[in-house]
């Protein structure tokens, strides 16, 4: 019986060594060590042995069983490793093939510029005020110190709907409405939106365009506050090393009125085609709120003062991104709009 056992062991080990797959090895395990296998049979047959031989034989069978199991487990580790290698080899893919596309769109460049400016001023404590695009002549002109017949109305040729209603020519009427609604309280707002002027569309003119105006009213608001605010704006929008300068100008709703230039972000001030060789680029108009404007909206111009500024997102986008024709913003050519896909922070 012992010899039979040794032979079985040898046979089993041979089979284990011959097994080339995990499956074959499992078959060997079942065949030799399973409930119906020869080793179990041997154990079952031990009843026929004399009682004194049984422990010795039992121990022997267990040794063989353990030996076979050990060989088998060792082989299993090896074969599993082979199998996993095989699987990995089979599953290998060409990772340079394109991924499943995730289609995404993006902001229109004007919205990109407008939101950037909105966020910049929100961080400085401004709120965003909006108003109707079709306005009363009163809010668009009269409340802004532009009475009927004022020569400066010519600066803004307008689309009228009736004698007293027109498409707003700037977003300043939102300021007038906000002031009226605030009833003498301090204000800190910016007003983005669409505006309309009677211009033929060409590379530099558009009958519809956008504007962002800002208004701050409070006690002792000074021109130096305007200059400081605009400087922060210029640096955030066009780079930390931007300088600003103010030049006198005229707007009926501010006094004094100024234009703001920034040092050219392309040449740094030495002169190039972007700044028309001057080193400076005109960015926006601003000024101290005219006392008539304050008084008309019910503010005491002796107690409160304010500043206002206004800029064109089209111009800023054209400068920032080098866009040469304003009509690009309203053609909605996907080859244009999709260029503003990536983020910039």
């Amino acid at each position: 019986m012992e010899a039979q056992l040794q032979q079985l062991k040898q046979e089993a080990i041979d089979q284990v060594q011959n097994a080339s797959t995990v499956k074959e090895l499992q078959d060997v395990r079942v065949a030799y060590l399973g409930k119906k296998g020869p080793i179990t049979d041997l154990l079952k047959g031990m009843g026929k042995l004399p009682a004194e031989e049984r422990p010795k034989m039992g121990a022997l069978v267990n040794v063989v069983r353990e030996e076979v199991t050990a060989v088998l487990d060792e082989r299993l580790v090896l074969l599993e490793e082979v199998a996993i290698q095989q699987q990995l080899a089979n599953e290998s893919i060409d990772v340079t093939l394109p991924g499943r596309p995730v289609k995404t769109g993006n902001h229109h460049p004007l919205t990109r510029v407008i939101e950037e400016i909105e966020d910049l001023f929100i961080n400085m404590g401004y709120q965003i005020a909006e108003g109707p695009e079709v306005e009363k002549d009163y809010y668009n002109f009269e409340a802004l110190n532009l009475p009927k017949g004022h020569p400066a109305r010519d600066m803004q040729d307008s689309f009228y709907i009736s004698e007293d209603i027109l498409l707003r020519t700037h977003t300043s009427p939102v300021q007038a409405r906000t002031m009226e609604a605030k009833g003498g309280e301090p204000i800190k707002i910016i007003c983005p939106g669409k505006v309309y002027r009677r211009d033929s569309d060409d590379a530099t003119h558009s009958h519809q365009f956008t504007q962002i105006e800002g208004l701050v009213i409070g006690e002792n608001i000074r021109m130096s506050d305007l200059k400081g605010t605009l400087s922060i704006f210029a640096k955030k929008m066009f780079g930390d090393d931007r300088e600003i300068r103010l030049r006198p100008s005229f707007f009926p709703f501010t006094e004094p009125s100024v234009e703001m230039d920034i040092s050219c972000f392309k040449c740094g001030g030495s002169g190039c085609n972007v700044c028309k060789k001057t080193g400076w680029i005109e960015i926006l108009g601003a000024g101290m709120v005219h006392p008539n404007v304050l008084e008309m909206a019910g503010y005491d111009s002796k107690k409160l003062s304010g500043f206002a500024f206004g800029m064109g997102p089209e111009r800023i986008a054209m400068l920032k991104y080098g866009v040469e024709d304003i009509r690009h913003f309203y053609t909605n050519d996907v080859r244009f709009v999709s260029q503003f896909h990536r983020t910039e922070v």
């Binding site: 093939l97 769109g105 993006n106 902001h107 498409l167 608001i221 030049r247 004094p256 100024v258 909605n332």
Partner: protein
Amino acid sequence: MLVSTKWLADYIDTKGIAPADLAEMITRSGIEVDAVIDRSHGMTNVVVGHVLERVKHPEADKLAICQVDVGEEVTQIICGAPNVAAGQKVIVARPGAVLPGGIKIKKAKLRGEESNGMICSLQELAIEGKLVPKAYAEGIYVLPEDSQPGADALELLGLNDIVLELGLTPNRSDAMSMLGVAYEVGAIISEEMKYPEVNYVSSSEVAENVLKLRVEDMDANPMYVAKVVKNVVIGESPLWLQQRLMAAGVRPHNNVVDVTNYVLMEYGQPLHAFDYDRLQTGEIVVRTAHAGEKITTLDDQERELQPHHLVITNGQEAVAIAGVMGGANSEVHEGTTTVVIESAYFNSASVRQTSKDHNLRSDASSRFEKGVDPNRVEAAAERAAQLIAELAGGEVLHGSVKVDELDKSQKEVVVSPDFINNRLGMKIPLEEMTSILTRLKFDYEAANGLLYINAPTRRQDIQIEEDIVEEIARIYGYDEIPMTLPVGETTQGGLTPYQAQRRIVRNYLESAGLHQAITYSLTSKELAQSFALESAPVTELLMPMSEERSTLRQSLIPHLLEAATYNVARKADSVTLFETGSVFLGETAEGLPHEEEHVAAVMTGKWLDHSWQGERKTVDFFVLKGIVEGLVAKLGLDQFVTFEQAQVDGLHPGRTAVIKLAGKFVGFVGQLHPTEQKKRDLKETYVMELNLAKLVTFSLEPLVYTPVPRFPSITRDIALVVERGQAAGALQQIIRSAGGKLLKDVRIFDLYEGDKMEPGQKSVAFSLTYEDPERTLTDEEVVKAHSKVLKALEEQGNAQLRG
């Protein structure tokens, strides 16, 4: 305003400051210099020539062979100008000369004849054709007889000059004159300016005896001064005067008219010269026009007048439109011997209206409109009388004929130095302020800690304290203003909930694959109402620039479709655009249209192209509907939104759904009608439009978490056979309401309309999930709920379980 720096030097010594530097100083302190124009344009070798002989070219009818004395030699020049003649002094570009535009003059042979240079017209020296005196408009320019051959012609013509082009804002009408600019420059560089000296000998004859004057409308015309000059000889103006006018952008005519224009440019006071004899009546009456009255103006246009137009008459008929343009009937002409010079103050609003009505803008009207200096009205008349006497040999009659009720005082402005400094955020010392006022020639008195300021009347824009703040700041220098930030209460910045939601909508749609478009609000009347979500009157412009942009839109879709067509025509294989923007509906109580913010999208062409793994998809209804569903879910409205099959004008009748929010119509999604697609050169195209305002202002309960289920759910799948026309959404609705509170979810997972079905039928499969958050469901409970569902489906949806 064009300012010749040579001319300006008559009034102010700029101490050798280079014109470009001067321009920069002027720009930085108040008036923008738009351009610095070098009138020499780099020209060289242009001299005076004396035409000694002119003979016809033997080989060419239109050419002449001229022998010209150019100072150092007599040389032969071929000339094609019709007006060249022997004895003339002319402008000669010598060989080697460079003319504007880089044209180089060389010795040449013209039809076999040698030509050593070119006899020039003024146009060839870069003077605009409309400024060249009419006599020389079609040929060469003839210089004064006393010009010296060989002398520098550019010098003689005043072309060695730099002109500053000022971009004047409406408040600075004071700088619409050479004297005004001289004052401004004087203030900037701190230099005294000098006025022209006006003196002449007048005749003993008294003007008032010759001319009668009556002004009927003193509001529109509070001051009228007339000078009468007899025995004038009309002729060409001297060259210095002609070239100054051309430098200022005015065409020379004759000595009298040129003087009025010269004084207009010099003083900023518009003048007009009448032929006294042509007036016929020896009388001037200023009155408003009669209805239907007509006048032919100097530009040979007959114009009909209205009763609010002010006219100058001879007591009978109109001879000029006041402040705008003279009449042809009283024009100064070659044979004029007596002239009446008018210098008046016309009300700016009146001139503005009149010039607008006649669409007539002149150098005169543009100055009256902004208001002229009341104290220069008479001075300008005297200056003109002097110059006409000098240049046209006239005899100025004694005194003026005058009506004058014009208030020539200036409003006093009282301001405290502290106010100025507080407003600027600066600490400018008082002495510095008063020194600036002195430079500006403002009268002031400093007393009681205040400045009492009287600005000169040329500065009509100085009315309030803030105007003084600006004057002080601009001369002191804006660069000196420090940079600070507003102090006081800090405020909380931020978006309103509406604005934040709008950004979320845009960001969602972009993440979903759409690009943001911005299209025009103005459209054609025809397109204004197409695709509108509701029917309302349109808002139209009074005077549109074109029919295409005449009416405000009521839907965003038409222009998005235009953008789609534009892109498809440029070979875009996919167009996915959205827009958020206002539409304009009807009228509110305020008289303005209702402005509602909408969101719309257009999609056509390729949607997904992942072909190497076998995935390809073009845009279809469910792509866009899915995007809308995602949007609605993002806004938390999915439980309140339903889609219903519907018909919408312009959309495919079988592929359109209206979208309802809590049962109320808020928009639609659908395929563009095939005939509309064809009209726009589009293939299958899908659109949607939603009332954005209604979506984002819908009131929702605050978000509260629902416990994650702790007990298992049970899923039952059913396949139903229904009529082909039965909407799956309706079946889903039946299941939902019949399923009770145990039914957590119903999803449609299959649709079969193939040939295994009876004709007219289809199979829709649903997956139902039952769940109780409190405990594990028993089979019995599920069976009970499920059979209720099946019963309801059979009764309400006529649906049978598929065998």
